[in-house]
């Protein structure tokens, strides 16, 4: 009865509604087989229970991690960051910006000046009341000459931040930005007490649902529920223990033996076995994360769009999906806007493997004897080297020669990415189109890893940014995706799903595809049923 199990799982993960579930199960004629507890269980799911110690086994933690919001580089400190701190804006599972520490916001018609009204009566863990001063401090922490923040790149449009009284903050931007609230929902932009500096950030004073009790980078974080948490209906656990477990087998064993309740990055080779365990739920969510293979257009012969088109057509996305992701993903269409994004171009034709067409374009470019060096290391994404070798074989059928250059994992992002002419890369994606395009596809952007400069595309980007009319924006973004797909310098072979496993004792609402671990907020959103 695997179909029934699948539906039950979908229901328990909140990916189909109860009504839909009943309809589909009835269609299978299996309604008698459904445990009434299951339907009752989801009804119960609406009223979370408090209590328990939630233990997360998480990847990516390193002993060099820091709680400074400027350098939240691993899954582990990103997750703990949102246990203990809040942003001004929260991004929900439907990719909407909803109020968090900001109660409401609005802008001038040109979207250039944004006013955020702050929630009143919110206290930090040290007893201090949060005001506009703290917000301005926390945002400025990422700006200015001395900033080492990873968020600096997308805060560049901020010209000035000022307070209007204790509970209002005004942002003046250099250009219109309709999606500015989403930027403030970024995980780096959590609010800390004004004046926090250096090692004081490691104490983790915030306004969040949990208070940091102990924090040892790369090992363990331990937090307890904040009894005065301002947000209603959130933060249900008594305690959260976040353990850095880098070894996949160790995480899997720990989950199987009940030593942890939640693990990220399930091993795709054995996920089918894990799914058979009754005490374990597996979730697979497509988010905005995707793999890319950027070419540097300033290096010959990638400046010629025939070459780029040929290489895009020479990739068998279906096979990569099957071999590298074992089906846990969706094919990419050579632009970075994911199916979950609001303005994803559904009607844009999916690019398919076509060796003949690839050969045609490559011949037109006169590059059939050129050897294309593809630089790869698993630091880009798990399976990147295998993917490169598969691509080499696929391209061979189109008469295109790819030479896979193995690079060391160590130092990959500083020595290979953006330095070599063609390499494997990974993007976590962005919840909104403007952020994704501005960060990595607009001319002159520091992370434009292809140095692509398309005039029409760049104009549209500016237009869309200041446009507040949704329909017009949709049209513009759809055109931009098409330009990117047909002219851009990167192959986007696939979107990888976030495959995670948790104890069946846990309950939750709909899971967000915004970031891993339910948008990095499972500590706040989940509970023990």
């Amino acid at each position: 009865m695997p179909k029934l199990e699948l539906l039950q799982r979908l229901l328990s993960e909140g990916r189909i509604t109860r009504r839909e579930f009943i309809a589909r199960v009835s269609a299978l004629g299996l309604m008698v087989a459904v445990s009434p507890a299951l339907l009752g269980g989801t009804a119960k799911a609406a009223t979370p229970k408090k209590g328990g110690r939630f233990i997360i086994g998480i990847t990516g933690g390193s002993t060099t991690d820091s709680m400074d919001p400027a350098t939240l580089t691993s899954n582990m400190n990103q997750n703990v960051n949102w246990q203990i701190r809040n942003s001004l804006v929260e991004i929900d599972h439907n990719f909407n910006a909803i109020p968090e520490l900001a109660e409401s916001w609005g802008s001038t018609p040109d979207a250039k000046v944004w006013t955020f009204k702050l929630r009143k009566g919110v206290d930090f863990h040290n007893g201090k009341t949060m005001t506009a001063e703290d917000v301005i401090f926390s945002i400025n922490h990422h700006l200015g000459e001395k900033s080492k923040s990873a968020a600096k790149g997308y805060l560049k449009s901020i010209d000035n931040i000022k307070a209007d009284g204790k509970h209002e903050v005004i942002f003046e931007l250099s250009g219109g930005s309709a999606d500015f609230p989403f930027i403030l929902g970024d995980y780096h932009l959590t609010i800390c007490p004004a004046g926090t500096k250096g090692p004081e950030f490691e104490k983790g004073i915030g306004t969040g649902g949990y208070i940091l009790e102990s924090w040892e980078p790369g090992v363990r974080a331990f937090s307890k529920r904040n009894p005065n948490y301002w947000k209603k209906g959130r933060a249900h656990f008594d305690e959260i223990e976040t353990l850095s477990i880098t070894d996949t087998n160790a995480r899997t064993n720990a989950l199987k033996t009940g030593q942890i309740n939640y693990m990220d990055r399930v091993e795709l080779k054995t996920v089918h076995l894990l799914k058979k365990m009754p005490a374990v739920n597996v979730s697979a969510i497509t988010g905005t994360a995707h793999y890319t293979i950027p070419m540097r257009l300033d290096q010959s012969p990638y400046g010629d769009n025939n070459v780029r088109m040929a290489l895009k057509l020479a990739v068998d996305r279906e096979e990569l999906l099957k071999q590298i992701l074992r089906g846990y993903g969706e094919p990419g269409n050579d632009h970075p806007i994911a199916p979950v994004n609001k303005f994803h171009a559904k009607d844009l034709e999916q690019r398919k493997y076509d060796p003949d067409k690839a050969k045609f374009y490559m011949k037109k470019a006169g590059m059939l004897d050129h050897v294309f060096n593809l630089h790869a290391a698993d630091a880009a994404f798990a399976g990147a080297v295998d993917a490169a070798v598969l691509m080499k074989e696929q391209a061979k059928k189109a008469g295109i020669n790819i030479n896979v250059v193995r690079e060391p994992d160590d130092g990959y992002w500083s020595n290979v990415w953006m330095k070599k002419e063609w390499c494997m890369c990974y993007w976590g994606g962005r919840p909104i189109e403007d952020m994704m395009f501005s960060v990595a596809y607009s001319a002159g952007a520091p992370w434009n890893d292809t140095l692509w400069d398309n005039k029409r595309f760049n104009e549209l980007l500016i237009n869309a940014r200041a446009e507040l009319d949704t329909d017009k924006r949709r049209k513009i973004y759809e055109e931009m995706q098409e330009i990117c797909r047909n002219d851009g310098g990167t192959v986007v072979p696939m979107y990888n799903q976030m495959v995670e496993a948790s104890s069946a004792k846990l309950a939750h609402g709909p899971i967000s595809g915004h970031m891993a671990l339910d948008g990095m907020r499972n500590g706040e959103r989940w509970w023990f049923a």
């Binding site: 390193s62 002993t63 060099t64 001395k146 990873a150 250096g198 363990r220 070894d247 033996t257 890369c425």
Partner: protein, 318 residues
């Protein structure tokens, strides 16, 4: 005994020189790796200006020799410096992890050393019997498998199938001593299985070697029992090589267990050093390197001193 004392003083002096040389090698080694901490921490999110600001804050923009001299100056005043990555004092990062590493190494040694010596003596006693062969095959098999494989087998049997011991050994301050012991049984067993063979084989070989000596023949001719000959006459004379092998294995238990740490999520020094090297956190790398080197030097010195004390011919050189 004067000669032993002179030897100790001389060796300690040499040891300090060695540590100094090692610190230079470690420093140059990390410097030679491509990239620096600012680039490694920011990774894909690096901007030229943020990297520059980061470097300036950490004084990574100074030339390497100036940074080394500054570090050495602090060290001579007893200050190991701060982690570049998160500004924590290196002492705080290293101290409790080093205690954890010693705790695991000591627990494994308490089981492994007596077991290896006992098995070695028995193997020598019943040389070439089926028992001798069985011990050899068993211990050599466990040393031949990679550590992580032995670890996974133990986890599969004792943690997943039988649910006796936990599969991860993430000990912390909230646990009592006995809870900690329970948590580290599996990594302890893994290490024991890995180190026993070497010590056991050496004990066996050393004793067998001694058994060919004339004084053993004399003892036999006096009519002493085989067990007594081996335990009272042969073993004390075989101690010297056995002590040396034990010292090497003890050093291994402290410095060579990073894989076991990763598999069992054990918070020891190994993982700290690996992470720090990959992020180019030089003060932490240097501190770990010096600790590991001191352990090697210290254990080697102890082994030499004990060999001399256990051997009258070395104790009273003519």
């Amino acid at each position: 005994m004067g000669s032993v004392f002179r030897l100790i003083v001389k060796r300690i002096g040499m040891g300090i020189l060695t540590l100094f040389a090692i610190s230079i090698i470690f420093f140059l080694g990390v410097e030679a790796l491509p990239g620096d901490l600012a680039e490694e921490i920011l990774g894909q999110n690096a901007l030229p200006e943020t990297v520059a600001a980061f470097r300036k804050e950490l004084k990574l923009d100074l030339p390497p020799h100036e940074r080394y001299v500054a570090w050495l100056g602090d060290l001579l005043q007893g200050d190991l410096g701060k982690s570049l990555a998160n500004g924590r004092p290196v002492v705080d990062l290293v101290g409790w992890r080093f205690a954890n590493t010693l705790f695991l190494a000591a627990s494994a040694a308490v089981i492994a050393v007596p077991l290896a010596i006992l098995l070695g003596i028995i193997a020598a006693l019943y040389r070439n019997s089926w028992f001798d062969r069985a011990i050899s095959v068993a211990t050599l098999s466990t040393i031949s498998f990679p550590e992580f494989f032995v670890a996974y087998i133990l986890i599969a049997l004792l943690s997943v199938q039988l649910i006796i011991f936990p599969s991860i050994s993430n000990i912390n301050d909230q646990m009592s001593f006995w809870q900690k012991i329970h948590a580290i049984v599996l990594p302890c067993l893994t290490l024991t299985l890995v180190v026993v063979a070497h010590m056991m084989r050496q004990t066996r070989a050393a004793i067998i070697n001694i058994l060919a000596s004339p004084f053993i023949e004399m003892a036999r001719l006096k009519g002493i029992k085989r067990t007594r000959v081996i335990v009272m006459h042969a073993f004390p004379n075989a101690l010297s090589p056995v002590i040396n092998v034990i010292a090497i294995n003890l050093a291994y238990l402290v410095v060579g267990v990073v894989i076991v740490e990763v598999v069992f999520v054990y918070p020891g020094l190994g993982q700290l050093m690996v992470d720090s090297v990959s992020k180019r956190d030089i003060p932490v790398v240097l501190a770990c390197g010096l600790i590991f080197a001191s352990i090697y030097i210290g254990l080697n010195l102890t082994a030499d001193v004990l060999s001399i004390i256990s051997n009258p011919r070395l104790r009273n050189p003519r």
